[in-house]
Symmetry: D2
């Protein structure tokens, strides 16, 4: 153990009545929920970037955190990794996630970046071996360095495309080597600041070509994880091409990749796109592209990505309800893409923020399972659409306007509305919480 | 002429210096812009619903307008039509648009609705013949009547689907008969209020089936106009399936209809979806589905559809710039889906609001044409992407990650960012205004 | 009993485990919470307008509800009142609230309006006598009729000011006669649509004069209830003068009325103004003007007043925590300014929506009380500011820049930041839920 | 001259027809508008922070700009000042503005900060003497350093209050010494992240005490500039106490400082608070607290402070119309609180962004003056309120509810609404553009 978390105990489940801040009140890893352990349902992951690499800055202020591993050497990168694994173990999460730039010092060029990455991947490998920790996903940071300011795949400069492609290769290699279960693409700079200097047609084609190469490379190296796109509407870029789930789906269809690529949905990104988290989850489920989630909360009244730890259990319940309806995660999981408030300086804060988030998810999962097992919601929904299961209902969908019109005229079809019962169903949901 | 507009003169072009409120300052129908008359570029249409049918209510107050044609008889419907055509002629617009419910009294059932509609279509036909007015598009109102409260095509009750299909047929027939150039589908109730009572998968399938029937019926009757979907993210419904252009595109691809259906883009709807109008136009152009526009402005700071007459010329210029870059309208046009403020009670207000909106569009069009003809913006954009036209650039798009990575390593590709020059380009745009 | 709610039982408390939809799970009227009954803490009221008078329309659709009392006669107004009191009794709420326009038919002029109001007030008086129901507050609807389209007190036409003043008098008389505990002013049309036609200085002065007259009249007639202003930022009006609590406070200070008038805070209005509900409550408490609340929820992602029944208990807990910290209600209470979704057509929906809302409030109240009684949050807050209780801390506030600067220099004051512990406190709150 | 702007010419007025990017098309400093030169109307200032000190970072990416003066030594601070004054002269702006942290290296403590500041103030003094440049305002940066993370005046730690007070003193001294015309307070951290750890009552009292000390110190040292508060609703802080103009006004009234302090209104901050810029200007004018403006534009669809250079002339016209109606600036001016997009790397971009912004303001000013001189808008507004100038209208405001009610009854006052003519007035505004 490093010194950073000294004095902080291993977090274990003590149940709802505990007074102990450093204990789970809802997350009980081996407890069965719908015949699967909570651990296997939730598949929690910590995000390296927010917890280990973020200095606490915001647009109007600099670093607030003082971490012993901040700095740009391989030695500090290893100290950071040591602390990271301490944290993962204290929290008993089975997974973690990283960008290349989170884990290795920035090099002077591609070759040095890759050497640094490979060294730290080696180090991770040993630690994963020793601890049983697993990699939920890896990804390339193609947005922080100034070379990416005008995009990575969608850059007007083909050399940036090339640099990005090489970097993605190195990160896919690293993810593959570490047995990662998914590889994620978040296009934080894939979009535009102003249409005035943008050729949207070219940029779309570039993005499509890059995605095809990623899929091809996956198959070439035998990586059997899932390729995931993470939608976000804007920020940092004024408009990002992967706006939301529906937009990503259209893009995948356009390039014929809807069978190869899924989505990693973040609550905060959903909200910034004007959707509820459960909307994005339900839509991805219906489109067959639900992959994984980035769990956080976003202040509905702050117009940027606040990436807060989740704490509203009723919201979690609605989210996990959609995930359970999709059959749960396969390669995906629940990654805390959440950061401490920049005033939360203490090591305890970092642990307890995760504890609270994990408990909120666990409580939500249990409520969602109860909703499904009870079946009242499903029954109400099925009853509402029952007409479509009749012969007449089924026939309608393959009919034509003229025939239907004839029917309407002949039978004087003049339907009366029926109550949608929204409030009753909302009351029902509250019973499980 | 009816009495309603008594004393209001025919609006003609008098140029920017005129002091006459009742004159165009920018819209000069026969003036050539990029070798086409302004009339043929802009293809202005008045919207029957806002101008003739809207009583001035809002969620906290009732009717403010007192129009002699308000009421539910065929006689009043004809008086409404008479006044409408007076207005179209005073404004010298070439087109108008309508929903069935705007133009005919509501009947007790489908048959009566259709009889009423057919009678008024007959009446329209005579008036169009007499005046040369044309129909830009027709559409069915499948959202105001209580039977549609839970959706039309996407209703849980198949009878509502049937009633909707029949109504669409009658409206397509009407549009076809009147030589309409497009047929529009706006799904104001196609979406959900709460996921709790909604089966999104079924509803999507229902919407797809209905759209397929519409396309089939178009071909069956030989209607050679364009089928248009009008995206809107929400309002009245909490979530609408046709959220924005990208969402509609994904939907069309899913049902294989992207070659059959285009979009009718409204500025206000774009804004409510978090996009600029020009974004939606540019995206539709790149996807090959740009059809027509609903012109209005939306208060950026009111979170609902304010449907105001457009008045900000710089915004119009950016919009028409994207339309001109797409080659201009074919069957589409510029429909004022804009309504008077409910305090603007006088007949003069109705005329002058259109005059101001038409002038704003005309001024925007002229600025957009100047931008294109000058070519400085295009040149700057092309220069920015010039690297992609080189052999190396072109080769990149059909390469693969491993080969590119090798290149990056070998040539130590380490690109430096170049200025995006946004402010210079914004200054440039201001020169044409 | 009227027929409307036939078959719906009296709602009683059955506890969290009940399966009965028609029972309270948390609201137990006589249960003591912090030594006061829940009934006296919460002081629930039903809103006549949404539940009895609203037809279910929205900006894109008309009436969906079909109520036997809809219409414009005194007889129907009495049927409406009968049904209202049935509902109040089924729900066992102690209070109700109304606008004049909710309860009486619209007359042809002021005199007829007032006659109608007086007749129904008489009728209410008998029913209140018989049932023990009380009036939480009365108010005048100065926004629905077209005469108010440009404002009531702030209208450019002094005759509208006069009509409004007379109407307020009649509503204050009615409220006084019925023993109302507050009188509310909501300025839905007091604001502007466009600055171009608005004299903000005059309108402010008019609003101040009217408020002064209201306060004077209260004293004249010996009404000992509280005068309340209800802030809202916009909708229906583009900008409303009573934007939020802080704005109302500045206005009261300007006219020297901060000791005479308090605020009625609505969750939905707080959200539309960019604030959390608890912010507005805490601010009003600190400014000494917290009066009463309008309880609902607003969809954070719909930009208009959605007025939904509350259902998120964690949000309720934070709200009642601020109310309890203010010492609880005196003349104020918890009015459900919430309306059914327009698809919720059935009488059961109306009852159950209130049941769910009352339970959400009750659960929130209990959690808030537990938070306060436990004292951990208060202790953490006090510890955080403890430095200000030291002699040095106290002295600082009455010092001056030059003296303080001397101290900073001499003692080399160079403070280090301390953790704000936000996530720990959020976890703590979740313990009480 | 330093090398940075080498090759960039002095910007002079060449008129609307010029093809020269490096020339003013509208801003003609000595041209008279309403009998005052444009220079004296607009009183342009450059903001040191954005133009000289900002590295181009955003929440997802680091520095993009590479400026020769970046670094933390006094020598570099002087190079920065040299470049700054080069820029001011190239642009021919009469004023500049700065925070202490923009102009001096960060020291280890208050004493070193102040020594550094004094040295640079000395250097500024010489340069101002040599060039005629003036200081529009100075201010203290009490938000970037981690010590201010929980507030300056409103910090839970009295030592931070003390440090802040000392720093304000040093900045007021600097501003006074340089003949600054105003002193600004922006409370970027004066607010809260979560109510859970916040004592709003204490924090308000602390803020009031600090403001009183600032006013006292102003009088003590004989500074005859204006003290200005700059409202902003949020960002970086979740809620900031100086939310908007109305909120600041209530705060000033509470502490009796409404005669001593005015507001510095920023377009972007107005928008983030849900207001139009012109609303905030008009309100401040009516309340007698309009001081100065921070000119920029904010993307209406990005929920954070985008601080872009203004370019929409119609918006500028409405803003300067309100400023002219207030009698124009006295000590205030037009400060470009605007930053380059982070992709605009070149020295030319920095100059041209200002040129475009100055031209947009100048064009707006000229249009606003034309509107006022023509008088049609004023006439329409006066006509609308004319009833209030009658004897009866005047009497109404000092009457009482009972007397007015008697009048309404006796005269059967039943006012009819009149058109508000919004679209006509909007058309009218477009004539002057």
């Amino acid at each position: 153990m490093t010194d950073f978390f000294k004095g902080i105990p291993q977090i274990i489940y003590e149940g709802p009545q505990t007074d102990n801040e450093f204990a789970f009140r809802h997350y009980n890893p081996d407890e069965l929920v719908m015949e699967k352990s909570m651990k296997d349902h939730l598949r929690f992951a910590c995000a390296y970037w927010h917890s280990l690499a973020w200095p606490g800055g915001d647009p109007f202020g600099g670093q607030t955190f003082e971490r012993p591993w901040f700095g740009d050497t391989m030695e500090l990168a290893r100290l950071k990794a040591d602390t990271a694994f301490d944290m993962f173990q204290i929290l008993d999460v089975p997974f973690f996630c990283f960008h290349d730039a989170d884990v290795r010092p920035e090099g002077a060029n591609y070759a040095e970046n890759t050497r640094n990455l490979e060294a730290i991947v080696e180090y991770f490998g040993e630690k994963m071996e020793a601890t049983g920790l697993q990699l939920l996903w890896g990804t390339a940071n193609l947005f922080s360095h100034r070379r990416f300011m005008a995009g990575a795949a969608t850059n007007p400069d083909p050399e940036v495309f090339a640099f990005s492609a090489a970097t993605i290769k190195s990160c896919m290699d690293a993810t593959h080597k570490l047995g990662g279960q998914n590889y994620v693409l978040w296009g934080g700079r894939e979009g535009y600041e102003t249409l005035l200097n943008t050729d949207m047609g070219r940029e779309r084609a570039q993005a499509g070509a890059m995605l095809q190469m990623v899929v091809d490379y996956k198959h070439k190296i035998g990586f059997d994880g899932t390729i995931l796109i993470e939608p976000k509407p804007q920020e940092p870029t004024k408009h990002q091409y992967d706006y939301d789930v529906a937009t990503v789906y259209g893009f995948l269809k356009d390039f014929g990749l809807e069978g190869e690529v899924k989505v990693n949905i973040e609550q905060g990104h959903a909200i910034l796109a004007g959707h509820s988290f459960e909307h994005e989850l339900a839509l991805a489920r219906e489109l067959g592209i639900l992959g994984s989630i980035d769990m956080n909360r976003n202040d509905y009244q702050s117009g940027w990505d606040t990436d807060q730890f989740p704490n509203n259990v009723p919201e979690m319940a609605l989210a996990f309800y959609e995930i359970l309806r999709a059959g749960g995660f396969t390669t995906g999981g629940t990654n805390f893409d959440a950061k401490l408030r920049r005033q939360s300086l203490d090591p305890e804060d970092l642990i307890l923020a995760h504890v609270g988030g994990m408990d909120a998810c666990a409580a939500g999962l249990k409520a969602a399972a109860a909703m499904l097992e009870d079946g009242k919601l499903e029954a109400a929904r099925e009853e509402r659409y029952a007409g479509w299961d009749s012969e007449a209902g089924k026939a309608l969908l393959s009919s034509d306007l003229a025939s239907i019109e004839k029917q309407v005229r002949e039978k004087d079809i003049n339907p009366l509305p029926r109550s949608g019962r929204q409030e009753r169903l909302e009351n029902l949901v509250n019973r499980y919480l």
